[in-house]
């Protein structure tokens, strides 16, 4: 009798260990986890001229990227990745996720410019701009590098060098993860689904 109990207990422990192992593999993020930081709120202007406040986003997971519409390469690549991510989510999941593109070039990226630019990719994407006074604390608060590069012999006039990571904020608006700008869409979807569970 005692032997049978011992065997059953051993089997149960083994099963629990296997399940725990499986779960820990599934619950590991694909992106790079960021050091813990406190919530930083901000208010900027979206592509429809409406005010957007991060703290009012009703418990959504947020993808965030800092780019500019004059950029023809990395920034559209990121938006293309976001489109694939958005299309991979179920409608129920998509209701709890938002895609926020913040300009590093407020001089040229007006709300109407952002609207036309993002419309090509997905109507759900949010583009934010503002005054320098509104944007500087956001760049500084989140450690985002941004530098205007005047190019005298270029028809562009200037370009903007900037941090090009894709950030994921949890449902409390806390920065949790980052992915590179050329991350695989399925890896970002994986991390979104984990963040939706918390």
């Amino acid at each position: 009798m005692q032997n049978k109990l011992t065997q059953s207990a051993a089997k149960l422990l083994f099963a629990v260990a296997v399940l725990a192992g499986c779960q820990s593999r599934d619950s590991s993020f694909k992106g790079t986890e960021l050091p813990e930081r406190e919530f930083k709120d901000f208010t900027l202007t979206d592509q429809n001229g409406q005010r957007f406040t991060l703290g009012e986003q009703e418990g959504k997971v947020t993808l965030m990227f800092f780019g500019f519409t004059y950029c023809p390469d990395v920034c559209p690549l990121t938006l293309s990745t976001w489109k694939k991510v958005r299309e991979s989510l179920t409608e129920d999941e998509a209701q709890k996720v938002e895609f926020v593109y913040i300009t590093v070039d407020p001089e040229r990226d007006t709300p109407e410019k952002l609207k036309a630019h993002l419309a090509v990719f997905h109507p759900d994407f949010i583009g934010l701009t503002g005054t320098q006074e509104e944007l500087q604390p956001v760049y500084a608060g989140y450690g985002v590098y941004r530098e205007k590069d005047q190019i005298s012999d270029s028809a562009t006039g200037y370009l903007v060098n900037h941090t090009a990571s894709i950030y994921l904020l949890d449902r409390n608006g806390i920065w949790k993860l980052k992915h590179s700008n050329d991350a695989r869409p399925e890896d970002i979807v994986h991390d979104i689904r984990l963040l939706l569970k918390y």
Binding site: K83, R108, A116, V120, D149, I151, A155, T156, T163, S165
Partner: protein, 160 residues
Amino acid sequence: MRLTPMFRKVGLLALLTSLFCQIQACQKADDTPKIEIENIWSRPVQIENEDGRVMKSNGVVYLKIVNDGEAPDRLMSITSIVCDVVELHETKMNDDRMMMQKVDGGLDIPAGETVEFKPGGYHVMLIRLKRSLVPGDRFALQLVFERTGTIKVDSEVGQP
């Protein structure tokens, strides 16, 4: 009829001269670049606002330049009627910081190699588009090479 020794010598000289010229011609024919342009594509861009007003907007072209020849060439410039100005740029990443640099003085295309323009690297920047680019659209580009001259291609606008 028997050939005189003199005749035989002249004939041999003519044959050798002919052979020498053939070899020279072959060598000269190999000493050139052989450029092909492949996989040319663009991203869609909307340049008009809701009222139809055109806003300054840029586009991009990616492609592959294949040099199957025995000599290098240099891409000097690109033009297109789809925009005001075309420039060559290169994206460089430093950790997670992105920088774009204009490529000046042309771009070397070594013999026997392929130079690829792709996201995150070299790209053709279409500055101040004159019209929106929509998926399925095609537009012409002219690539000017130092030795090969002008090659005309079409770029296809893909999905966003």
